[in-house]
């Protein structure tokens, strides 16, 4: 990464949406109870590959990493996650409806 060719730095900044702040909080809290750590967060992010930078935003990558970390830690199973995601999706079409 360091020294790789790269273009202009985009100086725009965005304010964090509530769901993004929740992702951040989940990472901190899951780490504090020993289900993951900064290194395991980073390792899963790295394993997602360079393409994930093109197709996913920062906190989209983070929730993907946290989620995989939780499955690895045995906090919940992939099947439980799938069922829960289906339930959440069925609640409505906006984040407000689904929360």
């Amino acid at each position: 990464m360091g020294g790789d060719p790269a273009g202009d730095i985009n100086h725009e900044q965005h304010d964090f949406a509530l769901w993004e702040k929740r992702v951040d909080a989940l990472m901190v809290l899951a780490s504090s109870v020993g289900l993951m750590n900064t290194d395991s967060l980073r390792r899963v992010l790295e394993d997602m590959g360079k393409e994930s930078y093109e197709t996913m935003s920062y906190y989209e990558r983070w929730i993907a990493s946290v989620s995989q970390n939780m499955v690895e830690a045995g906090a919940f199973s992939t099947a439980e996650l799938a069922d829960k995601m289906a339930q959440v999706k069925a609640r409505g079409t906006t984040y407000g409806d689904a929360t």
């Binding site: 990464m1 360091g2 020294g3 750590n37 290194d39 395991s40 980073r42 390792r43 790295e46 690895e72 830690a73």
Partner: protein, 85 residues
């Protein structure tokens, strides 16, 4: 004290940046013992390794491509990645 970063290229989670491998620098300070991230990343019980701040000149790191040869990069490198230079 002059040290060199191992010119090793293992797979997996490594916190030694690629651009510093094989480069030599001066020890700026020893920060103490920290968990080896190479084990922590996989939830293996981590061994402790000394974390050392190393100062590299830009000319050492980038050669002729250095923007300013005497500017420096300082990075934290785990002791098991270092050898005497």
């Amino acid at each position: 004290m002059k040290v060199r970063v191992h010119n090793n290229w293992p797979p997996g989670h490594i916190r030694t940046p690629a651009y510093l491998r094989g480069k030599a620098g001066e020890v700026e300070r020893d920060i103490g013992l920290f968990n080896n991230p190479e084990q922590n990343a996989y939830r293996l019980p981590p061994q402790k390794s000394h974390l050392v701040r190393i100062r590299f000149t830009m000319s050492e790191v980038w050669g002729d491509a250095a923007e300013t040869p005497d500017d420096v990069i300082e990075a934290e490198i785990y002791a098991h990645w270092l050898e005497p230079a």
